[in-house]
């Protein structure tokens, strides 16, 4: 069994020692930190698989701090609450606040099975109850009624064998399909669809079905009443949207075409002037041409970012994948980053671990991510340095981790969870930043997400920020999935 790393954020020594002795039996390391900012920060570097939050940390009236923990960098780990056995209010509050599960203290039973269930279920547990309702177990909210949906819904086993279909699905695919496999019966494929095969939890895809309509499907792994894992799939008819999307796509293509065309002409005339083809330039004229060039470059970046953001919103984001070494990707942007840093009197240090295996990525897109986060670091650092490191993700040699750390102004805690939102900009009185529409980080996160990795940030105001992202290392099978990967 894998040794999962557990963090306990709390100060109950009795609980900790009983938990420690239970976890010793399975060899799982545990770290205890107080539930404050410093403790959370240290806990993050322990790189835990699961976070236990002691509700004794909470001030009266405060809700379960899931958003705070996500913002602090625990972006994907399941978070469980630790509650007093005689305090049902905390139990309910934490579950309603998004805790994956709770552990009651003092411990009365071996906690490992419960921790394992939370580890396997990820952030949210959905189950189908006896009435065919989809229930979010984290807050016991009914998400919908599968049986009565007018759009198709079905449930399959992890091996894709169909267990159940609702009436709408039967109307499209015919009755009596139980026992067949979903990719075969629904999509006429011999192999499972990529969306499900690749995902460990939630998967999304679009499909045009036999009835001539187009659906957006969402599937989640859920636990049925017997504790068995099942995949629950529900579709939404998006056929009416398709026409609108076609118009939207054409509109965006035309607008971006018409924005780029004059930029090309500006660049060419700048080159003509710079090359002296229109006569020798005075130093003052050269300085003005530099400004034209810089402004054109900024406009160019803005246009490309807007187009990227639009692709993300419309699900048109495509990657051109290839096997590449991370240092080669870094090489694409390092020179220009060093020049940017030198302009501000800063130094960039890089460090790439030895024998790092190649990754399977869109090199231009990953270079764009590095340029974006390191560019931010340069922008928000007055003195000190920017460090770019690439190595294995701690305790997971299936992933490469790239980190960009600076000694800059840092990000306020309340903004940390929001900086990845589209169009979000941190308001800051100390630094006036002229560029940026608040697109770079959300685009970066989406790029990393479509590569199967994670991008997150940690920061201390006044001390600096660190951005980390992971990418799966290249393995043989991955090459089979070569080609453009949509969302």
């Amino acid at each position: 069994m894998k040794a999962y790393r557990i963090v306990y954020l709390g100060s109950d020594s009795d609980f900790l020692s009983s938990l420690e002795s239970s976890l010793q039996q399975v060899g799982w390391p545990i770290l205890r930190e107080p539930g404050d900012a410093d403790g959370t920060r240290r806990a993050l570097t322990f790189n835990p698989d699961l976070v236990l939050w002691d509700c004794d940390n909470d001030q009266p009236g405060e809700g379960f701090p899931l958003e705070m923990l996500r913002g602090a960098g625990f972006t994907t780990q399941p978070v469980m609450s630790v509650v007093r056995r005689d305090d049902p209010r905390s139990t309910i509050n934490s579950l309603a606040g998004g805790a994956a599960d709770y552990i009651a203290k003092p411990l009365s039973e071996m906690p490992v099975p419960r921790l394992l269930a939370a580890l396997n279920s990820g952030r949210r547990q959905l189950r189908i109850d006896w009435f065919g309702r989809v229930v979010d177990e984290s807050n016991n909210q009914v998400k919908g009624m599968l049986a009565n949906l007018s759009d198709p819904a079905y449930v399959v086993k992890p091996d894709y064998q169909i267990l159940w279909m609702n009436r709408a699905a039967e109307e499209i695919f015919g009755e009596g399909q139980r026992g067949g496999t979903c990719h075969h019966v629904f999509y006429e494929r011999t192999e499972p669809c990529e969306a499900c095969a690749k995902s460990e939890g939630m998967a999304r895809w679009r499909a045009a079905l036999k009835n001539g309509k187009t659906y957006r499907f969402v599937s989640v792994l859920a636990r049925n009443g017997k504790g068995e894992i099942e995949r629950v799939v529900a579709g939404t008819d998006i056929t009416p949207d398709e026409e609108v999307q076609k118009i939207h796509k054409t509109f965006v293509a035309n607008v971006s075409h018409d924005l780029r065309t004059p930029l090309a002409a500006i660049d060419q005339y700048v080159s003509i002037l710079n090359d002296g083809l229109a006569g020798e330039l005075t130093d003052e004229q050269k300085a003005y041409i530099d400004i034209i060039q810089r402004s054109s470059f900024r406009l160019h970046n803005l246009v490309e970012n807007l187009i990227d953001a639009n692709k993300i919103l419309s699900g048109e984001f495509k990657l051109r994948m290839e096997v590449v070494k991370i240092e080669d990707v870094l090489g694409l942007v390092l020179e220009s980053l060093k020049a940017q840093a030198a302009d501000r009197g800063l130094e960039i240090q890089t460090q790439v671990a030895e024998a790092l295996p190649p990754v399977y990525v869109d090199r231009a897109r990953i270079a764009q991510v590095i340029a974006n986060i390191a560019g931010n670091s340069i922008k928000f650092t007055e003195q000190g340095m920017i460090q770019i490191r690439a190595g294995f993700m701690p305790r997971d040699d299936g992933k490469v981790m790239v980190s960009v750390e600076d000694t800059g102004i840092g990000i306020p805690r309340e903004d940390l969870g929001k900086i990845f939102e589209l169009f979000y900009r941190v308001e800051n009185d100390q630094v006036y930043v002229e560029e940026g529409a608040g697109l770079g980080l959300s685009i970066s996160r989406e790029i990393i997400r479509t590569h199967g990795g994670t991008l997150w940030a940690e920061s201390m105001e006044g001390a600096g920020s660190a951005f980390h992202f992971t990418l799966p290392v290249h393995s043989g099978e991955r090459q089979d999935a070569a080609g453009a990967q949509g969302l």
Binding site: A253, H257, R260, T261, A264, I266, Q268, S271, I272
Partner: protein, 125 residues
């Protein structure tokens, strides 16, 4: 002029861009002929037998794809290398251009070094 003078056709409905490219290519010692729509691009290619054609995709009178199709089906110009220069960012378009026989596909605004490199290598072949 030490090298042999090459003839380059630049076809784009953005006349400002055509003028700029002409100035720069002439400065490199090339002879430049210009066209501003798809049909004109084909006609000018027939008359001048250029060593290289630079084509925009979206132009009046047939556009760049119709122009390359005719150029590649005309005995006198079929071997002329064609480079596309367009503000569209579209993988299908890139692939379509390749299938029609283009040797290059650049998106505006383009990397100047790469673009000039592609022109030189197309002229060299």
């Amino acid at each position: 002029m030490t090298e042999e003078q090459k003839v380059i056709l630049v076809a784009d409905d953005d006349k400002d861009l055509v003028t700029a490219l002409s100035i720069r290519l002439r400065a490199q010692g090339h002879l430049v002929v210009e066209a501003y729509d798809g049909e004109q691009a084909f006609q000018v290619a027939q008359e001048n037998k250029p060593d290289l054609v630079i084509l925009d995709v979206r132009m009046p009178a047939g556009g760049g794809f119709a122009a390359i199709d005719k150029i590649k089906h005309s005995l006198s110009t079929r071997a002329v290398p064609v480079i596309f220069l367009t503000a569209f960012d579209d993988e299908e378009m890139r692939e379509h251009a390749r299938q029609l026989g283009a040797v290059g596909f650049f998106r505006k605004p383009f990397d100047d070094g790469e673009f000039m490199g592609a022109i030189n290598s197309a002229l060299g072949s």
